[in-house]
């Protein structure tokens, strides 16, 4: 009897300790960051306090403009990314032969894994005044002078954001599209709905958990972006990530924490909404296997 109890205790320790460690290392920093956002900055140090000073600095002056711009860029680029990622996920789930699905997803994931800062450097190379696109356009005689709006523009920033975050958004959408029961669609066809209405009223609603997960991922990435804005947006183009880094550069940890807390809060609200509206088990059934 004793050995069985010891066995059970050991199992709790072996499985529980790593989980506890991870919980401390994830929640601890986030919790301390929230606390530090209420601290006071004194010279190059900070002292524990309960003050809204950092938030007041954030919410007044230029930083709030950066916040609004980040919000707008994040929302609009997420919509753009969904419009590209959803058809791709749909094609992988419904059109690609089952034996080729793995290969196709692999092809989409390879670029995602190459450092996105390197990929962003490359876009500034490709889109620059003497870059590939302008050379090709002028070589073909389509334009006389290099196009200026290709680089250091909204266009370049959106292109950078889409290629940075869109590939990963295909996966959750594909998961929920391929996880739904085909018979729902067939039933809709049998009952006389056309393909378009079936998609609109059956397929799309059933895939919303994946769409929402993808949207959160893309939104959070674009919202806290720092590299795309510097490399492709040009001087002065700041997003929330740049604003946070600039406050770190002057060693203002409370301000950096306040802005980061804000970003994490927005993300948490979205995640809680996701948990609230959708059943995680349904969505993850494919990964977790039988329950």
């Amino acid at each position: 009897m004793k050995s069985i109890r010891f066995d059970a205790l050991l199992r709790v320790l072996v499985l529980g300790l790593p989980l506890l460690l991870v919980a401390i290392l994830i929640l601890g920093p986030l919790g301390i960051m929230v606390a530090v956002s209420f601290w006071k900055k004194t010279g190059f140090a900070m002292v524990p306090d309960v003050t809204w000073h950092a938030y007041a600095t954030f919410l007044s002056g230029v930083r709030i403009e950066v916040f609004w711009r980040s919000l707008w860029v994040a929302v609009s680029s997420t919509v753009l990314m969904l419009l590209i990622a959803y058809p791709l996920a749909y094609i992988v789930a419904k059109k690609v032969r089952p034996t080729l699905v793995g290969v196709t997803l692999f092809l989409f994931s390879v670029p995602f894994l190459v450092n996105f800062i390197i990929r962003t450097f490359s876009w500034s190379d490709i889109l620059g005044r003497s870059g590939f696109v302008n050379s090709a356009l002028m070589g073909l005689g389509l334009t006389d002078a290099p196009l200026d709006w290709l680089l250091y523009s909204d266009f370049a920033v959106y292109l950078g954001l889409v290629t940075a975050y869109m590939p990963f958004m295909i996966f959750p959408i594909w998961l929920s599209l391929s996880g739904t029961d085909k018979r729902y669609e067939q039933a809709s066809w049998v009952l006389g709905e056309g393909r378009l209405m079936t998609f609109w009223r059956v397929t799309l609603p059933l895939s919303l958990p994946g769409v929402f997960a993808a949207a959160i991922f893309g939104f959070v990435g674009a919202f806290g972006e720092f590299a795309v804005s510097v490399i492709l947006g040009g001087t002065g183009y700041q997003l929330l990530g740049n604003s946070i880094i600039s406050s770190l550069n002057v060693i203002n940890y409370p301000l950096a924490s306040a802005m980061s807390t804000f970003a994490v809060l927005v993300m948490l609200i979205l995640l809680v909404a996701w948990f609230f509206f959708f059943d995680l088990r349904l969505f993850l059934g494919k990964i977790m296997g039988r329950q």
């Binding site: 991870v22 601890g28 530090v36 094609i91 894994l113 390197i118 720092f226 924490s257 980061s260 990964i287």
Partner: protein, 263 residues
Amino acid sequence: MTVPAPTSAQRAANGLVWGFVALVLVFLYAPMVPPVLRSFAGASVENGGLFASYRAIFDDPLLIGGIWNTVMIGAIVAVVTPVLALAIAQALREWQKPRLILGLVLLPLFVPGVSMGVAMAVFFKVLGVEPSLLTMSVVQILWALPFATLVIMTVMASFDETYLEAAYVLGSNRFAAFWKVELPCIRQGLFGAAAFSLILSFNETIRTSIVQGGRNTVQTYLWSQYQQVGLSPALYALMTLLIVATLALMAGIVVVTRRRQLP
């Protein structure tokens, strides 16, 4: 059942679909080309041959240190992350609390990189932990963990748990059943998770750069050089090497998983 020949409208629609996929892939893969071209640009016999910019990497002691740090951290991340991920995936199956456990592990995926870096930096600062290779590794492990956990969960889902019950019936204890029955079946998943973690470690910049203190990895060195003095041919050579290393690791994953599928 005979499949009717596609009409021209269907063929056009199909062409549109695959054209769209091809176009997106072109956009995704195009950024891998310029660093390669740049690293060989201006190469001539007088300038030291084709690989001059690659040799220039070794003239920069800071960069050598960065490469060394990158390799060390990569090794730590590639070993620790799969083990942690395996423990978490096992706990998930054991305790059946997917919302809580997965929600926790996947959280870093949804926190903006800069914010996660700030959180880790103040965490270490308040606790009085000096920046070191270890703190840099911790940050990268947390970033790689969601991916590694998902990889291992996928492989574990294809493992039939009745084998474990068979082992228990035959008198095996939990650990022996896991070690001798389940582990050999999910080994490829562990390798996949390790390779994935290594790739993510090699390609992580912003979280690491916020907690690194005085040290550099290849990636954070690239980023700080870009901001301070701009990119040199040697840095383009380095980017090319990073892209090649990432592609080689991905190819390695393909070879390993292929072997699993073939009996």
